[in-house]
Amino acid sequence: METNEKEFSPQESLQLIHSMISKTKNSVADDSFYFLFWGWLVFGCCIAQYILKVYLLYPNHYIVWWLMPVGGIISGIYGSRQSKKQQVKSFVEEAVAYVWLSLAISFIVLIIISMTANTWQTAFTYYILLYGIGTFVTGSLIRFRPLVIGGIINFILAAVCVRFSYDNQLLIAAIALVTSYIIPGHLLRMKYKKQKN
């Protein structure tokens, strides 16, 4: 017999189950790094390309986008370090991770399509649409409203964007990043900091 266990009633059993399950509720990891990192990086690239193209008339203005694979590597290193530290993995986190993995692949596919068919005029429309899907789904899964709102704003911006010239689309993409990544990212970071204290 186990000496360190006392008999307990079915009521106590149910209470125990309830209390243990509720302890896992706040176990979603702080993902704000990704929103802030990618938000500021892509925002910076949009603005830099706009300045290079419109003001400096630099012909290779798209050179700024070579920072994307660099960002991918940094993001990947951060992710693998975080997953080593993480003590618990929830289903929500797994779902969010797969959503972003599929979106990352979609971004690459879109770049290939744009290069092949020379459809740069509509490229940002689809990028903004993908940002919207990512933030809307993540926000819904982790129940964080600013991300959901950011996602909805991006759906609208994607539809609006296609009516503008490529140069102005860069600025619209920058706005999309502020509303869907940067602002919700900072709010998410604040929320986790509060939770920790």
Partner: protein, 98 residues
């Protein structure tokens, strides 16, 4: 009259472990210990029992030179947990009326 409560699950610490694991994909031993406030020795014994009956999977590996134990619930464990909760509900429901 009553379905017998699964003796493996009708134990405070083992039930606590199962309740934690049912809500997540996987959890480290240290996380479980922290949430259940159990001693490492006692938790180790109970985790081993749950593993023996096939309710959980236990993976041991090294992370940055430290041994790390990760637990996750098995389909058999989920089934047993659900049956246990149903038995509890039946028990409480009937005893409430009587």
């Amino acid at each position: 009259m009553f379905k017998e409560l699964d003796p493996i699950l009708h134990s405070q610490l083992r039930l606590a472990v199962m309740s934690l694991l049912i809500a997540v994909k996987e959890a480290e031993f240290t996380y479980i210990r922290e949430k259940t406030n159990a001693t490492a020795g006692n938790l180790s014994v109970q985790v081993q029992k749950l593993k023996e009956v096939g309710y959980i999977d236990v993976a041991k590996q090294f992370k940055d030179n430290y041994p790390q134990t990760t637990c996750r619930i098995t389909p058999k464990g989920i089934e047993a947990f659900e049956a246990y909760v149903q038995a509890l509900q039946a028990y409480l429901g009937t005893s409430g009326k009587g």
